[in-house]
Symmetry: C2
Subunit: 362 residues, 2 copies
């Protein structure tokens, strides 16, 4: 049926174990035979905080099957009035920065003070999606077994835009299920940071103390997006260097224009391994959110993000429709060749391509 | 006929004085009666460096009249093999940073060493387009009368995307006319910097020594785009502060990931007023270009920019076609209202809007 077990999984509705990345035949049959839950079932279970139904709803959201998507949309519509009440935190950093350990320690800190934490990954290369589930469990073994935590790997095999769309809808479902702190993880080297930045209230960048090689991989522009930079792995011999890095980055960040709300990004040191500095990070975020709510910047930013998502969804689809057309593909190849040989201008080439398309509106 | 003198001007072809912003009736008649130059005339004159024909060709490029645009495209096609040989430098900075004086001094420096300099403005609020032509002449009175310099204000009244498109085509015409250094000016507070950044070889950010208030207006993200930061107005009492700012920014820029070609942005001080530091700026840019050409980064970047322009032109037009549709406009208003009241999700809203549009390809 489906080409591989992954797409097969995402098209199945009744998956009760969201962490499963492959299903054996017996499981598949079981899934197929299971009585399909109604929209009402989904909604009432989600609102009660039922993790299994939350997972299954996210699987519906991630499905490429039209019927599943229709069902997903109805569930989302019903959940919407109960959403929007969380704090959404984006966490990024290149591999090796200790992101999993940080999220594990930070997540445990949050559940200890009574929060309900959902962790979602945006790009397939994020740590919680890397390798097998066994890998994830090893990486975040405490958080995985925490009743007040929900960890959801991102669906792999889809485009970034697709994953990001799904993530945003997954946030709504998690919020409706009572999760008050949503952590969105991204790997910090691709395009996903901009996308994550556009769906969170606070954006954390994890770094190491060395300002050399480890910066090579990071995307330019990401530092300007960060609301705070955490120098992680500030333990053992690293503490001194971490403190120096903190001072340097604080100084640097002061030279940059403040954020729209006047916020000057903070720099802090932390050791997720030794559970040091985690409470300070949380205090900083809380104070930021409190201030943002006081000034109504919080609501304004969310409304702005929401509209932005409407527009970017439309524009992604318009592009997709255009570029996936066979005629366009053929001519595009030709025009790019001419462009490379300086035989046309970008605008003439665009003009020729656009002639293939009419207005397209009924 | 035309709604105002500006659009009238841009639709007239035979304008020999590009600086004229209004034409009286007698002039209009004269213009209308003038024999229209052929494409061959244009091309041969431009290739000989005829400023009048260069200006008239840019006016054609900027026209909204379809016939003019067809002619413009033919001229561009013929000029294309003679283009691409200049160095393109973007200069940005908020108002008050001394951009006009800097460009004037820098431009004069370049013509003195035998360069031919074209200055183009991208956004309507750039200094060379602010106020009347008399204002421009006052601002850059030496450069304006320099035979080896060509100053072209940006067409006002058009969208940023439009202006930027025109600017890119104007670059080609200027290059064909023998200008070996193209300066693109932008005001540093809007969206135009990204656009300018995507069409130049080197991107300069002008700043003042104070790192406080004057940063408020600047767009976040712009510092990461800059290949160099020039602390301008380093004269009189300012010298000491400028030197401090230089050290601070150098340190800060070193904390950031290097550019794709390994370049770490430089910081310099200059006083355009006293003609200090200008030669150093030029030396730095020359060395950068030399290095970029050696490693073939220069050609790669231009090829990349060229393709990018093809795609962004297409995508701008697709968006325009969609959002300017009457049905879309109406439904968009409704969906945004629902979104603001949390009665829909961005994706459901987008879905409804996209249903109005079919694939649109023949």
């Amino acid at each position: 049926m489906a080409k591989n077990s992954k797409s097969n999984l995402s098209e199945k509705e009744g998956v009760s174990q969201p962490e499963t990345t492959s299903a054996n035949s017996a499981e598949k049959i079981k899934i197929n035979r299971r009585k399909q839950a109604s929209i009402e079932d989904y909604v009432s279970k989600i609102l009660k905080g039922d993790i299994t139904f939350l997972s299954r709803a996210i699987t519906l959201v991630e499905s490429t099957n039209k019927k599943h998507l229709q069902k997903a949309n109805s569930i989302l519509d019903a959940c919407l009035p109960h959403a929007n009440k969380s704090i959404r935190i984006g966490i990024t950093g290149v591999p090796g920065v200790g992101k999993s350990t940080f999220i594990e320690t930070f997540g445990k800190y949050l559940t200890n003070i009574g929060k309900k934490v959902a962790v979602l990954a945006v790009d397939p290369s994020s740590s919680i999606n890397k390798g097998s589930i066994l890998g994830d469990k090893t990486r975040m073994e405490q958080l995985v077994t925490d009743k007040n935590a929900f960890i959801r790997p991102s669906p792999s095999g889809t485009s970034l835009g697709g994953v990001a769309q799904k993530t945003r809808e997954s946030i709504i479902l998690c919020e409706a299920a009572g999760f008050d702190t949503i952590i969105i993880e991204t790997v910090g080297v691709g395009q996903s940071e901009t996308v994550v930045h556009s769906m969170v209230d606070f954006f954390l960048l994890l770094k190491l103390s060395g300002a050399g090689d480890e910066l090579q991989g990071i995307k330019r522009g990401i530092i300007e997006m960060a609301d705070a930079i955490i120098i992680n792995k500030a333990d053992g011999d690293n503490i001194k260097n971490a403190k120096i890095a903190k001072v340097e980055f604080s100084r640097a960040l002061h030279l940059y224009p403040p954020k729209d709300n006047g916020w000057i990004p903070k720099t802090m040191i932390a050791s997720a391994l030794n559970n040091k500095g985690i409470d300070e990070v949380y205090t900083m975020i809380s104070e930021y959110i409190q201030q943002a709510k006081l000034t109504q910047y919080f609501e304004k930013k969310r409304a702005y993000q929401s509209k932005n998502w409407l527009f970017s969804t439309i524009e992604e689809e318009l592009k997709k429709r255009f570029y996936e057309n066979t005629e366009v593909k053929k001519l595009l190849d030709e025009e790019i060749k001419k462009l490379e040989q300086s035989k046309t201008t970008p605008f003439n080439a665009a003009d020729n391509l656009l002639k293939l398309s009419t207005n397209g509106l009924k």
